[in-house]
């Protein structure tokens, strides 16, 4: 019988003890005596969120296919257990073996969003590992960061031994093999890190020094040891059809956020929206072979017993074999009594037909993400959606029986004026008008249009990386403008409006484009008890306000200032394929309100072709 790290007394006094006991279907147990390398894979948020993440499932499966490695999982203990562990000095443990993380060789942390940064400190701290990489002894696990936020790793740099820049399927084995070799030779931790820094994509922050100008901007970023590369190149998988994919993902006992089979159909996006970081980071767009996807889908349904399957990718409508794949899944799922959860698709005849087949039209809603209210501003952000397309799509759907529409927008986009903001309300109104054009006896009651706005956060490696971000007051002012405009319209009763919290958004802005100095803010917040900032019930803005004050951090410098084009940005040392020159050109085109067409229509020469594959080389054989 498995022995648990926590006593029954603890487990029965906290919420959802199933978060901490492991033993799930398809979780992997190994004999630790026969293992060379123990890897703890962490998602620094609560179990139900972490278990829904595809990337960890892929890497968990990839590592455990090797006999000499045992990869286990660890998540952030929820606040109730966090408190108990601190009081009783219990060391954070992995779910499978229930062994302390501090006894592992590696602790790999995936960093998916900025507001989990304090949870990263929580995980390292509860594991009883020193927070600063330079304070860690020979016995400490090597702490690795990966995921989208590592494209600006600087605010977290001092807490990590190394960052893995790129997709996990590529150089992890190289890193593990190097580790085994160094261990065999009896080399020190630092020597291992030095050698690791030469593996493409591996960034070891302690081997780089940063100097600053008087105005706080970066003067220089240079390696402090000979042989350490000046630039780090993103590593990506070029053949996604041959790449490792988990056919038996772990099935949690408690309901995870994604309680279904997740099939990743492609990586990257051909669209080039200028605010979108993922759209730039994952270039070039690479598709998985449709036959591989069909086979994998069946294998995953068989091995998990899940009653639902969903497709995962950016802009799924752009997957070239989408109709073939979806029609196959509809047939296959009908026989098995499995539901298909559709990704958000461009509304057209195909998607309406498919939605009609797999959803209850009365209950489901249509989703549009125009992101900006006016056509002028949609051209600025390069969102190729026009009002005409939206009204036409909504009209077809209304004729087909739908009556619910969700609209997503951002506020605070570069060049935005109150007129652009009011256009959000006008667009919702026009959609409502289109609905009421349908004769009363043929429509399905009132229509429900839900308008949601989030606040624009400029991200590294986007054409908007230089942009200023609005202040909290500006954001709330623009949300009021939208709200008033909606309330002044004829169809106000058919339109609901929700907007995000602005205080979290500006902190996200700070962490997204921060430099190494921002680590002080993070430490201060954490030391004053701040964790789970991504959760509204636990987020405490005052802790951040106090930390900014105590550390003398200027939000204007990091967030609300437009950066000069000459400025050295903290993330400039990372190469993602897409060049800074291209981003700059797009930043200029944005100001000229010029649209750049998608990769399939015309190559914009972004630089991602250096990876020698994907959409850049489609139709060229």
């Amino acid at each position: 019988m498995r022995k648990l790290a926590l006593s029954d007394e603890i487990l029965l006094s906290i919420e959802k003890p199933a978060r901490y006991i492991g033993n799930e279907v398809n979780s992997v147990m190994k004999d630790k005596e026969k293992i060379d390398v123990r890897f703890a894979m962490c998602f620094p948020d609560v179990y139900e969120i972490g278990m829904s993440h595809l990337g960890i499932q892929i890497l968990y499966d990839m590592f455990n296919k090797r006999e000499d490695i045992w990869c286990e999982r660890v998540y952030s203990p929820w606040v109730d257990l966090d408190k108990v562990m601190r009081e009783q000095n219990i060391s954070l443990f992995a779910l499978e073996s229930q062994d302390p993380i501090k006894d592992f060789d590696f602790l790999g942390i995936t960093i998916q969003y900025e507001m989990c940064y304090t949870n990263i400190l929580q995980v390292i701290d509860l594991s009883q590992i020193p927070l600063k990489a330079t304070d860690r002894g020979e016995d400490c696990p090597v702490v690795i960061g990966g995921g989208p936020c590592t494209y600006n790793p600087e605010p977290l740099a001092e807490f990590f031994d190394l960052f893995y820049i790129g997709e996990g399927e590529t150089v992890y084995f190289k890193l593990v093999d190097l580790y085994k070799e160094c261990k065999k030779q009896g080399l020190s931790r630092k020597e291992f890190l030095y050698q690791a820094s030469k593996i493409p994509g591996i960034y070891v922050p302690m081997f780089y020094d940063v100097t600053y100008n008087e105005d706080g901007t970066i003067a220089d970023f240079t390696p402090n040891r000979e042989g350490v590369p000046k630039q780090i190149e993103k590593q990506i998988v070029m053949d996604l059809s041959d790449a490792t994919y988990p056919t038996a993902p772990i099935v949690p006992f408690i309901k995870a956020t994604q309680d279904r089979v997740v099939l990743e159909i492609q990586r990257g996006c051909i669209r080039g929206c200028r605010f979108c970081q993922a759209g730039m980071l994952y270039r070039p767009t690479r598709e998985r072979d449709v036959e591989m996807l069909k086979k994998t889908a069946i294998a995953m349904l068989e091995s998990t017993g899940h009653e639902e399957i969903s497709l995962s990718s950016l802009s799924s409508s752009d997957y070239s074999k989408l109709p073939e794949l979806v029609n196959f899944l509809i047939d296959e799922c009908r026989q098995r009594g499995v539901n298909i959860s559709l990704p958000s698709l461009r509304i057209d005849a195909f998607s309406l037909d498919v939605m009609n087949k797999v959803q209850d039209v009365r209950k489901s809603s249509l989703t549009f993400a125009p992101e900006a209210g006016s056509q002028r501003l949609r051209d600025v952000i390069n969102k190729g959606l026009t009002e005409e397309i939206i009204i036409k799509g909504a009209g077809e759907a209304f004729e087909g029986g739908w009556n619910k529409v969700k609209l997503y927008f951002m506020l605070g986009l570069p060049t935005e004026t109150p007129e652009d903001q009011k256009e959000i309300a006008h667009l919702a109104e026009k959609i409502a008008e289109r609905y009421y054009e349908i004769p009363k006896d043929q429509r399905n009651g009132k229509c429900q249009i839900t308008v949601s706005t989030s606040f624009f956060v400029p991200k590294p490696f986007t054409p908007f990386q230089w942009a200023r971000m609005c202040t909290i007051d500006e954001f709330l002012g623009s949300a009021r403008t939208v709200n008033h405009e909606i309330k002044d319209q004829l169809n106000k009763k058919s339109i609901r409006y929700n907007w995000h919290e602005a205080d979290v958004s500006v902190l996200e802005g700070l962490l997204a484009r921060g430099d190494r100095k921002v680590a002080e803010v993070l430490k201060d917040v954490y030391e004053h008890g701040g964790i789970y900032d991504a959760w509204s019930e636990t987020f405490d803005n005052q802790k951040w306000v106090d930390a900014l004050e105590r550390t003398g951090t200027d939000m204007n410098f990091y967030v609300h200032r437009e950066r000069s084009l000459e400025e050295k940005l903290p993330w400039d040392f990372i190469q993602i394929g897409v060049t800074k020159k291209h981003l700059l050109k797009e930043w200029e085109r944005a100001h000229q309100e010029e649209v750049t067409v998608n990769c399939r229509q015309k190559c914009a020469g972004c630089g991602a072709a250096c990876y020698k594959g994907g959409v850049c080389f489609e139709n060229q054989n």
Partner: protein, 236 residues
């Protein structure tokens, strides 16, 4: 075809709540290729009902659920297929055909259950408690204060204790269970400890459910039979 499944829930699975066990079995049925029947309608769900929910923290060797299948399968095959996809701690013990009709539903049949209760190390009462407990259970009435939402009611739990014996450190009891009368083993132990002058600590007991029974006797005389004995093995 109506089927009654008996299963054990042991080890770390004691921390998985009743609703999650239902979800677990829904997925397990698919993995094991059991040809289970679904309800009609736009969102069909598996026809599956559980006899008596088990509290979190308790283990059991006698859990029951009823399902409906569309094509016959030999009991031995079904048990093997299901056990091949179980996690550690979960084991399917029997898979039997039961009579059609609502009256046969496991949930409505439940009348009693067997429990084995022991004190966790460090929580045992003073020496000789075994003897004192057996004497206590023989009293004509055991009145406790039962808290309801609005008030406290005095209840005599003695009639709901059908049997109680102590074997070494293990207490075996048969208690009324189900919708008509329901008594939890913790309540019996807490009444005993109160009699001794102590409060029962919430983590003091380790409890295993051994069996769940239906009552096929008359109003005058109980006749308890295990739920599985009301079904028959399928041999093809």
């Amino acid at each position: 075809m109506k089927i009654r499944i008996k299963f054990a829930k042991q080890g770390v699975m004691r921390f998985i709540g009743h609703l999650d066990i239902m979800r677990y079995f829904q997925k397990a049925m698919r993995r094991a290729h059991i040809d289970i029947a679904f309800t009609e309608g736009f969102s069909p769900h598996m026809i599956m009902s559980f006899a008596a929910p088990l509290g979190v923290g308790l283990t059991s060797n006698g859990e029951y659920m009823d399902i409906e299948i569309k094509s016959p399968i030999a009991s031995a095959d079904a048990i093997r297929q299901l056990n091949e996809v179980m996690v550690e701690g979960m084991e399917v013990l029997s898979f039997r055909q039961i009579e059609e009709g609502k009256a046969g539903k496991a949930m409505s049949l439940v009348a009693a259950a067997d429990y084995t209760v022991s004190f966790r190390p460090g929580y045992e009462p003073a020496d000789g408690w075994q003897k004192r407990l057996e004497e206590f259970a023989k009293k004509d009435s055991i009145v406790i204060l039962k808290k309801t939402k609005k008030s406290e009611v005095e209840t005599d739990i003695r009639p709901m204790i059908y049997a109680l014996s102590v074997d070494g450190d293990n207490v075996h009891m048969t208690l009324a269970t189900g919708s008509a009368a329901n008594l939890k083993p913790e309540l019996v132990m807490s009444a005993f400890l109160k009699n001794e002058g102590f409060e029962l600590h919430s983590f003091a007991l380790s409890v295993n459910r051994d069996e769940v029974y239906a009552d096929i006797g008359t109003e005058e005389e109980r006749k308890l039979v295990s739920l599985e004995s009301l079904g028959e093995d399928i041999v093809l």
